[in-house]
């Protein structure tokens, strides 16, 4: 359904130095820098699949979504979605997709929610009979009927997200793009939204692309993930694969009480050659250790080496695996 080959997106960015002097300099001679937001990313998504996009802030997730939805032109590379080139055939293409940007709404702000659907009906040329059928279905899944008469600006964030999802699904798109659909929502609402997404994926066989920071979204929804960091793809595969391959390690976190010692040197001398990875950030340290090495041994060695205030051992869950990948900035493919 989606085919992405060597997609690259570069932006020009004007760099401003801080402060008064910087502002005055920028007045006369702004310096331009090229930022590569997406750097040679390839992947495929099958029909009916839910694919999760993860990565830290600024990794290039949104840029990728914007290229997939036809908003941005890739600097190079090929993108095909549902048989279309999103940029060259944009107008025909967007009839077949739905887009929800979690931080922004496509609903008409000042008017009752029902008005948004009236307009979307015309924009996507949905026939009246079909429209009623869809609205019935969307109400079943997202419970939007009670919201219809309220002006959009009075809806809560959760209600608005339900309405936005319904608005994106009105014309029964083949592909649905969700950019952080659960951002800022409370746990119960998040759960409802996830259920609705899963249901729409199942009923309509909608292919769904999802970006998120909430890994629970990924665990509960997506069949496969693509992880990007600094514009590069660092992992592609199923979640269970990821767990199996990288869940072999555990994490020992500790807080150093005496910063006077040459901690970094001591730790790396002792641990590095045994395959234990060491990360330090001020007084906080992390050791990533293979599960086969008994924790007791590592703990003893650690406590002998340096003075430690607090210590904890964590088995790998998805979050820690991902954190590890972000931290090491290495490709794990």
């Amino acid at each position: 359904m989606i085919h992405v080959e060597h997609a690259v997106k570069e932006f020009k960015k004007i760099v401003k130095q801080p402060g008064l002097k910087g502002s005055i300099n920028a007045l006369f001679k702004p310096s331009v820098e090229i930022v590569t937001a997406v750097n040679d990313v390839s992947f495929d998504v099958n029909k009916g699949e839910i694919m999760g996009f993860i990565g830290p802030n600024g990794a290039g997730k949104s840029t990728m979504i914007k290229m997939l939805t036809g908003i941005l032109y890739p600097t190079s590379g090929n993108i095909t979605v549902a048989g279309y080139n999103p940029q060259k055939q944009r107008q025909q293409y967007v009839r077949h997709i739905g887009v929800v940007f979690g931080q922004r709404t496509q609903l008409w702000w000042d008017l009752p929610l029902s008005e948004t659907f009236t307009v979307l009906k015309e924009i996507y040329q949905v026939e009246t009979k079909r429209y009623q059928q869809r609205m019935g279905y969307l109400n079943e899944v997202l419970d939007i009927a009670p919201l219809m008469t309220s002006p959009v600006r009075t809806l809560s964030l959760g209600q608005r997200m339900r309405a936005d999802l319904a608005a994106a699904m009105l014309h029964q798109p083949k592909v649905l793009f969700l950019d952080e659909p659960t951002i800022g929502l409370d746990v119960v609402v998040k759960d409802n939204i996830r259920k609705a997404i899963a249901q729409m994926n199942k009923n309509d066989e909608t292919t769904i692309i999802l970006t998120t920071h909430d890994l629970a979204d990924i665990e509960l929804l997506s069949h496969r993930i693509v992880m990007i960091d600094q514009g590069k793809r660092v992992y592609q595969g199923t979640l269970s694969d990821l767990k199996e391959r990288f869940g072999k390690s555990k994490k020992i976190e500790f807080v150093i009480s005496d910063m006077e010692q040459p901690i970094e040197q001591l730790l790396s001398q002792r641990f590095q050659q045994r395959g234990v990875q060491v990360y330090l950030e001020n007084e906080r340290g992390t050791l990533i250790v293979d599960r086969s090495i008994p924790s007791a041994i590592i703990l003893k060695e650690l406590l002998d080496l340096i003075a430690v205030k607090d210590i904890s051992i964590k088995e790998s869950d998805v979050e820690s695996i991902i954190k590890e990948i972000y931290l090491t900035k290495a490709s794990y493919e």
Binding site: K66, G70, I71, Q91, T118
Partner: protein, 263 residues
């Protein structure tokens, strides 16, 4: 085409619903533009209280040109006001993205989405002045004017719209072009008076560079004197068509370069 008309009607229906929601605000808006025009008229009136004619134009002719300039300005303001928002903030804050996920051309979508009722102030003052001044014997209407006058107004409005299109398109590259648009647009103020009063450089600029003189002075002079139809009216038509095509073209390539907001 039928689909477009239906869609436009839906958008406008929405607009009127919003209008009813904020009645007082819309009335203030229209009244403001009316008041703005009236103060300028008082100004002209004070001048003509002291002198009989300006650069050979009597009071009625000045009022005719002034009123004439307001009609296309008002029409454009009424129909395509959303272009200002593109130039000032839609691209910058990322709300422009929405138009690109819809199966309609973004330029058309932006323009169709709303009207601007404030423009009625300009339009009504313009109509009143043209009707009043032309009844004072400065114009002999001809049958063909029934067709020519509205067509001239449409073409003159297109000059405004095309300039707004061109400059708002710049925002697709630079994220913001509101200030430039403000600068370019404000030169239309020159078009309210006979251009003969200005320095040659200014005359040249508003005739050939930012051709606002074709939205009022030239066509108005044609209707008053019937002189030089090819230059006065033909020039307008030619410029309106060329500028509009170029405006659409700039949008077309601007959309390609569009970089959205943030990452």
């Amino acid at each position: 085409m039928k689909h477009f008309l239906k869609l436009y009607a839906t958008f406008i229906a929405q607009y009127f619903k919003r209008l009813l929601e904020y009645r007082i605000d819309f009335l203030t808006g229209a009244f403001s533009f009316l008041f703005d025009q009236v103060t300028s008229l008082v100004f002209i009136f004070i001048i003509f209280n002291q002198i009989p004619a300006l650069s050979g134009y009597p009071f009625e002719a000045i009022v005719f040109i002034y009123g004439f300039s307001l009609i296309p300005k008002g029409i454009d303001h009424f129909l395509t006001d959303n272009l200002w928002k593109v130039a000032y903030f839609m691209v910058r804050n990322g709300s422009f993205d929405r138009y690109l996920t819809r199966p309609i051309h973004p330029l058309l979508h932006v323009i169709m989405e709303t009207w601007q009722i404030d423009a009625l102030g300009e339009f009504l003052v313009g109509m009143t002045l043209v009707l009043y001044s032309s009844s004072q014997g400065i114009i002999t209407w001809m049958v063909s004017d029934i067709l020519l006058l509205p067509l001239t107004m449409i073409m003159a409005s297109l000059i405004y719209t095309s300039i707004k299109m061109m400059v708002s398109a710049i925002a697709l590259w630079t994220k913001r072009s509101g200030s430039i648009l403000q600068m370019v647009y404000s030169t239309n103020e020159f078009a309210k008076y006979p251009i003969a009063i200005y320095h040659r450089m200014i005359q040249f600029t508003i005739t050939y560079v930012i051709p606002f003189a074709f939205t009022s002075y030239f066509p108005a002079r044609y209707f008053m004197t019937r002189e030089n139809p090819w230059g006065n009216i033909g020039g307008l038509f030619l410029l309106a068509v060329t500028f509009t095509s170029f405006g659409v073209y700039l949008w077309q390539i601007g959309l390609r370069a569009y970089e959205s907001a943030g990452s």
